[in-house]
């Protein structure tokens, strides 16, 4: 159950502010929570202003002035060392939140994630605890080119021992990040960089959202749309357009892709008999393929049409704005896929 405070104030907060809120409140509550990464404060050793960046997207701004450089640690550009230090510290009494400025940089530190941190609890016979969070930005849309725009959640979702969280709005971001920090296992917290300025009503008090519980931003009976991360916004837009034509979509946002709320997806498909999955990652060996296979296996008798996946093409993210816009799944493509499964 979500532990939303029943009383207390709330305010419109951006996705960025909601994440900052979660970090600040957890750091106040628990002195073992630390942050480490590149430019998480910024200005280290410089003549000018301290806390010059607060993360290149401004997410950790203000935390170093409150908690000091001992707890908000600007690191050298050494991702393996950052992630290894976070994992080792997690085994040794801290709850580190490591930041990969762009999650694309798992390329240079993947061993520390998948072959080290992910395996400790199991491989050491249940004796190790690795309460760490890796925050990283994902996704296209910033014209940042092929090496800074990847959606690599399928890669990490494949690994046993990693929890993978992909909040699609500010409210979820705060509750899920607090949950992630309190979790005793490695959690990858993937922030879509397109969403940082999106606002919604967010409680001011701390609250948690459990992993493996989907959200239902639109309810409907004709077609199930499962959408991930930034694609939730587009799926909602598509659902609202289709609603005007009398097509009723059940939009499911899994919120965490590992663990995955299979049950909610299967229950929805039982009603609708039709499934469209929207994900900005490529299709092969992806989350979309995974959800599709789960439903084909466990919900086959409910299906009244072939499952449709709306994903990025099997190509790196191109730089040119016209190509990048064609690359990212559009509202149009979602609408067409829904029509398609309805035979409309």
């Amino acid at each position: 159950m979500t532990t939303t405070p029943t009383s207390g104030t709330s305010s419109l907060k951006t996705y960025r502010e909601a994440i900052n809120d979660a970090l600040r409140q957890e750091m106040r509550r628990d002195p073992t929570v630390i942050i480490l990464g590149e430019e998480v404060s910024g200005g280290a050793g410089c003549a000018g202003q301290d806390d010059a960046y607060g993360g290149v997207f401004g997410v950790t701004k203000g935390l170093m002035p409150e908690f000091g450089r001992e707890r908000v640690i600007d690191t050298p550009i050494s991702e393996s060392a950052i992630i290894g230090a976070a994992a080792g510290a997690a085994n040794n009494g801290l709850r580190p939140v490591a930041e990969l400025m762009f999650f694309d940089f798992i390329g240079v530190c993947f061993d520390q994630i998948f072959n080290q941190a992910a395996k400790f609890r199991y491989m050491f016979g249940g004796k190790a605890r690795t309460p760490m969070v890796i925050r990283g930005t994902v996704g296209a849309g910033w014209r940042a080119g092929a090496q800074h725009s990847n959606m690599l959640h399928p890669v990490v979702t494949h690994i046993p021992g990693l929890k993978v969280v992909m909040p699609s709005n500010a409210y979820d971001a705060k509750g899920l990040l607090i949950q992630a920090i309190r979790d005793d296992d490695p959690v990858l917290f993937l922030e879509h960089k397109i969403m940082y300025d999106l606002k919604c009503e967010v409680p001011d008090e701390p609250y948690t959202i459990p992993f493996g519980e989907a959200a239902f931003p639109r309810q409907g009976t004709d077609v199930t749309i499962v959408a991930i991360s930034n694609m939730v916004t587009r799926a909602i837009e598509a659902a609202d357009l289709l609603a005007k034509e009398g097509i009723s979509c059940d939009v499911i946002d899994p919120r965490t892709v590992s663990p995955l709320d299979e049950e909610s997806i299967l229950e929805s498909v039982e009603v609708t008999g039709r499934l469209v999955i929207v994900d900005e990652a490529h299709e092969r060996c992806s989350l979309a393929a995974d959800i599709s296979s789960i439903v084909a296996e466990k919900g086959f008798s409910s299906l009244r049409a072939p499952i449709r996946k709306v994903t990025a093409p099997h190509a790196p993210v191109p730089f040119s704005p016209v190509l990048e816009d064609a690359y990212v799944p559009s509202v149009d493509r979602i609408v067409n896929a829904v029509r398609d499964v309805l035979g409309a």
């Binding site: 202003q49 060392a81 240079v108 099997h314």
Partner: protein
């Protein structure tokens, strides 16, 4: 005269081309004509030119996210570059790369790199290619002071030393990795010394001094060509603009950039030196200034006029496997 006038004019023209190219990139970015992340190298021109001016197209360079200067110094076409940076179909990489991924294999430029530390291991491979095939070609990688701390770079240094590869490692120390000072992020007092500990000749130079940098590069390049293995050069320099264009640069000292523009501008220092030594005449350099302005203005115009890629064709062109 230790340097031929033609050589010095070529050096000046190349440095000036980089300077004006970067200044126009900043302007065009601010005007909304360039999308994405752009890292300008104005202030650092002397190093790119000193390192690349005597290389052939068979010599390979690998660059960084701050790569425009290296591209220009290695002979990449500035019009093709500008089109690429603007994301146009006729850009050097057909608009698919952008500023952080410009490459021109015909010119021996195997890519800017948006991954810090991505280049040096690749340049080891280029050097291994030259060594194994028995050519006298060399490879040269560019890294920053921040990049110097990336594991891939440290591995590449040792690997090059062990295999005695013809690889010149250039480290441009502009004092910052994003908004973090080099002094903070380097655990040692001297990067040059640390690199030397990998088992290769390693020098420190003032990277705002074209001549000092050129001479250090010559020594390293000669060693590489003669089969004597890798070298490292740390060249200290100044970044005139932000980490990226649009960076508010709150972390920089009050008059730091203004002072550097007066006292440590490598172009001014070059000009003063060649005039003081009577190696070149001012009018010859002024003429170059004008030509370069025109060239870059036409590059911008051609960039703006160039067609966008066509998603129906270009989005899925050059993928290895199609689904």
């Amino acid at each position: 005269m230790p340097y031929q006038p033609e050589f010095l004019l070529r050096v000046y023209r190349t440095m000036k081309t980089i300077r004006i190219f970067e200044e126009r990139c900043i302007k065009e970015f601010e005007g909304g004509n360039i999308p994405g992340f752009v890292h300008a190298s104005n202030g650092q021109e002397a190093i790119a030119v000193a390192a690349c001016i005597d290389l052939t197209y068979k010599d390979i360079i690998g660059s960084t996210h701050r790569g425009h200067g290296h591209c220009i110094a290695k002979g990449c076409d500035v019009i093709g570059m500008m089109k690429e940076i603007m994301g146009k179909a006729t850009g050097l990489c057909k608009g698919k790369g952008g500023s952080m991924h410009i490459a021109d294999f015909d010119k021996g430029m195997i890519g800017a790199n948006a991954i810090v530390g991505g280049g040096p291991p690749l340049c080891n491979g280029a050097a291994l290619g030259a060594k194994t095939r028995g050519t006298k070609d060399i490879a040269m990688s560019f890294s920053g002071d921040g990049s110097a701390n990336q594991g891939t770079v440290l591995e590449a240094l040792n690997f090059a030393a062990v295999l005695k590869l013809p690889h010149v490692f250039i480290f441009e120390n502009n004092g910052y990795g994003e908004g973090t000072s080099a002094n903070y992020a380097l655990g040692c007092d001297s990067l040059a010394e640390r690199n030397g500990a990998f088992g290769m000749p390693s020098e420190y130079v003032d990277g705002t001094d074209f001549f000092a940098t050129y001479e250090a590069c010559q020594r390293a390049i000669q060693r590489a060509r003669q089969g004597e293995g890798p070298s490292s050069i740390e060249a200290e320099t100044v970044r005139f603009d932000g980490h990226f264009i649009g960076d508010p640069q709150l972390y920089r000292g009050k008059n730091e950039i203004a002072d550097a523009k007066v006292n440590r501008d490598c172009l001014t220092l070059f000009r003063n030196r060649v005039l003081a030594e009577s190696w070149l005449q001012a009018p010859d350099m002024d003429a170059i200034d004008e030509e370069v302005e025109l060239l870059i203005a036409s590059a911008v115009q051609e960039g703006l006029n160039a067609p966008d890629p066509d998603p129906a064709i270009d989005l899925m062109a050059d993928v290895y496997c199609s689904y």
